[in-house]
Structure formats: structure tokens, C-alpha cells
């Protein structure tokens, strides 16, 4: 699948979205979700989804107090490793929700969101 970039999100089969602390962001990484940094309702910096970060962008992010960035990370895991990681995440999530009433719709919706998030 060719990478799909709309105004807000960049995703392809070969990438996965990750929110990383600023300390781990490097030039060359690809913005996964559009980044808007504002101060007192004034937009100070906008970087669209799919944008490749430059050293200049890092300085801009730093100057504007960015704490984290959503990047599209290359998927380097094998299909087997992805399946194993997904199973581990699902097992851990099930243990966390073992005492929860999943027949209750709000709880079930939270469980689905956490399971989906941890499986990506």
C-alpha cells in the first residue's frame, strides 16, 4: 500500500504511529499526525502529517517547548514478531481488565480502545 497522507494522519503498511518524547526525536523522522503548537490560542508552529523532520524543525520544536511528537516509525518487525507482540499485549490487557465487567458498554468500549492501541 502506498503511504496515505491526509491533512492530519500519515500511515502506511510499512509504518506505525508512535508518540515519542522530544528527547527521542531525530531529523529524518516522519510526522505521523499533524503537529500544531499554539500559545494562548495563537498557532506558533504547524507541521503536516508526512513531513520529514529537519534539524531546523528540531530547533523550532525546541524553541516552542514541544514535549512529544507523533512520528510514523518504519515497521522493522517480522510478521511473526508482530503476531507475538500483539498476543503479549492482548494477554497483559486481559489481565488488567480481568475484574472489569465487560458487559457494561462504557467499560467494553474502553477495553476495546486499550486493546487496539496496545496492538498497534
Amino acid at each position: 500500500m502506498a503511504p496515505q497522507a491526509d491533512r492530519n494522519t500519515f500511515i502506511s503498511r510499512e509504518t506505525r504511529l508512535r508518540y515519542l518524547p522530544f528527547a527521542e526525536i531525530e531529523a529524518g523522522m516522519v510526522i505521523g499526525r499533524a503537529l500544531n503548537l499554539s500559545d494562548r490560542n495563537i498557532l506558533r508552529l504547524h507541521l503536516p502529517a508526512g513531513h520529514v523532520l529537519t534539524d531546523g524543525n528540531l530547533r523550532q520544536l525546541y524553541a516552542n517547548g514541544a514535549e512529544f511528537v507523533c512520528v510514523a516509525m518504519p515497521e522493522t518487525r517480522s510478521p511473526e514478531q508482530i503476531a507475538a507482540d500483539t498476543a503479549d499485549s492482548a494477554g497483559r490487557t486481559l489481565r488488567i481488565f480481568a475484574d472489569a465487567d465487560l458487559s457494561e458498554p462504557t467499560m467494553a468500549a474502553l477495553f476495546d480502545c486499550v486493546l487496539s492501541y496496545r496492538s498497534k
Partner: protein, 296 residues
């Protein structure tokens, strides 16, 4: 059960806990005044050598990645570099660390501190996600279980018995505490907050965080309740992470829907938790004990 504790007992025995940090009160007093905040925060930081060290360390750790030749030694430069929100969180967390440390024995203190920080970060990010004050939410998250500290200092054996009851019999901690003390940590926490003159929304968040339906219209109550659920749901409480109850009313109060839109919220919580982990660890009881042993 020991004799039931009442409000007067808590007021008379406030000294069981250290004095509530005035720094946090000053931060709370100016949350709605962004212009006053920077000057106030800098003046607060400059009175406290521990805070100065924390802020300069954070500013330089960020600066070194983009300007390797730059060394920040000035507090105004540091504050403008790392941003008001992060400065405020550092001031609040450092002050809270000083307050919470040395109140519980080492094993319990570590878990209590990690849980308080995790709920604080979740509350802050959830509040921002739902267009409410992140700072007030951070404080509510960090203070939500403060009643447990007082209960421990009041009767350590009964407090530990309540925790054993909870672990062995699978009951909720509030029920186990009511069996031991006649009241639970939420009410004790609210009485403490009252005696410290903390704002009403903060008192109510502490009081109702397990039963937000009792204050359904108050966003900070809903934020604190859901933040505690999220800290467990995302596994931020380590092996103790368990989700048991989520209030539908609280979700409705915040107009929070559990769909694809919360993926970003989860990601931000993970990123901020990761970003703050080193800082929180450095402020926690274990690290402080190590520093004390090392003579720092």
C-alpha cells in the same frame, strides 16, 4: 475496628503529615493569569535550590540536542526554553515530592509515589484532551490518595491490615478502610484539603474520585476518576494495574467517547510518562534514600 475517625480528629492531627507546600498554593492562585505565571514561577523557583537544579537540568538536557555549544545558566532563559506548562509541572511535582517523601515506609512509598505521578500525568493529559485546566488536574491526580498517607501515620498497623484485607479478600480499598477506621481515605483526604484551604473543586475531586456520580457536574471529579482508571488501563501502575470500575456519568460529564479519538490521548500519556519517568524517579522516595546514603 479502631474508633471511627471524624473531621475534628483529622484537623487536630494535621501534624501527622508535613505542612502542605505553600508553593503549590501560590501556583494554584495564579492559574488563570498567564502573564503573572512566568514571573511568579521564576520567583518561586529562585527561592528553592532543588527547583533551580531541576529546571536547569531539564533545560540543558533539551538544549544539548539542538545547540550542543549552548549551556543554560539563567532561570529566565531556562523557563522560556522549556515552556510554561512543563515548568509548572516540575514546580508542582518537586513540591509534592518533598511533601510525600518520608511519610510512608520505603516499599509503600515507592508504589504510592509512582501511582500518584501516573494518575497526575493521566489527569493532566485527559483534562487538556477535554479542554479543561491541565494544571489543576495534575495536582488533583497527585493528591487524590493523600488520605491514605494520613491513615498510615495515624494507625500504621490498621492501615496495613486494610491493605491485606483488600489483597486477600479481593474487596475494594475503601471498604477495607471503612472496616478498619469507620471512614475511607477519600473522606480523610477531603478533610485534609479543607484544613489546607484548597479550592472546592480540588476537595471534591479527592472526595469523589471513586464515586464520581456523587458530583456528576464537576469536571475535575470526572477527570480524576477517569485518570485513575486510565493509569491502570494503560499499565502505568506496574503489576498492580487493575481496572474494576469506570463511571459512565463521569465520561458523559467530560463528553468523552471511547473511540479512535482517544488513541492520541493514550499516546500522549505514554510519551509524557516516559519523558517524566526519569524526573519522577529522581524525586521519588527510593532515589532520595539513595542520595541520603550517598551523603548528597
Amino acid at each position: 475496628m479502631s474508633g471511627s475517625i471524624n473531621r475534628d480528629d483529622v484537623r487536630r492531627n494535621q501534624h501527622l503529615l508535613p505542612a502542605f507546600p505553600r508553593t503549590i498554593e501560590r501556583v494554584l492562585a495564579t492559574l488563570d493569569d498567564p502573564d503573572a505565571n512566568l514571573n511568579l514561577l521564576v520567583s518561586l523557583i529562585e527561592r528553592d535550590p532543588a527547583l533551580i537544579g531541576q529546571i536547569l537540568e531539564q533545560a540543558n538536557s533539551v538544549a544539548v540536542r539542538t545547540r550542543p555549544d549552548m549551556r543554560i545558566c539563567n532561570m529566565f532563559t531556562a523557563t522560556s526554553m522549556i515552556g510554561l506548562a512543563r515548568i509548572r509541572r516540575t514546580v508542582i511535582a518537586t513540591s509534592m515530592a518533598g511533601f510525600l517523601n518520608d511519610t510512608l515506609p520505603p516499599g509503600l512509598a515507592g508504589r504510592f509515589w509512582e501511582h500518584s505521578c501516573a494518575v497526575g500525568v493521566c489527569a493532566q493529559q485527559l483534562a487538556i484532551h477535554c479542554h479543561h485546566s491541565g494544571d489543576m488536574a495534575l495536582i488533583a491526580g497527585m493528591l487524590h490518595d493523600v488520605g491514605q498517607l494520613w491513615l498510615y501515620r495515624h494507625e500504621p498497623d490498621a492501615f496495613l491490615a486494610a491493605r491485606d484485607d483488600c489483597r486477600i479478600n479481593g474487596c475494594r480499598i475503601e471498604e477495607a478502610e471503612r472496616r478498619q477506621f469507620g471512614v475511607d481515605h477519600t473522606l480523610i483526604g477531603a478533610w485534609l484539603a479543607e484544613s489546607w484551604d484548597l479550592p472546592g473543586p480540588l476537595r471534591n475531586a479527592i472526595l469523589h474520585h471513586h464515586k464520581p456520580e456523587q458530583a456528576a457536574s464537576e469536571p475535575l471529579v470526572a477527570v480524576t476518576h477517569i485518570a485513575e482508571v486510565l493509569s491502570a488501563a494503560l499499565g502505568l501502575n506496574g503489576d498492580d494495574s487493575r481496572v474494576t470500575h469506570l463511571s459512565t456519568d463521569a465520561c458523559a460529564t467530560l463528553k468523552l467517547t471511547w473511540d479512535e479519538s482517544v488513541t492520541g490521548l493514550f499516546g500522549r500519556i505514554d510519551a509524557v510518562s516516559q519523558s517524566m519517568a526519569g524526573f519522577f524517579r529522581s524525586q521519588g522516595p527510593a532515589r532520595r534514600a539513595e542520595n541520603a546514603v550517598a551523603g548528597n
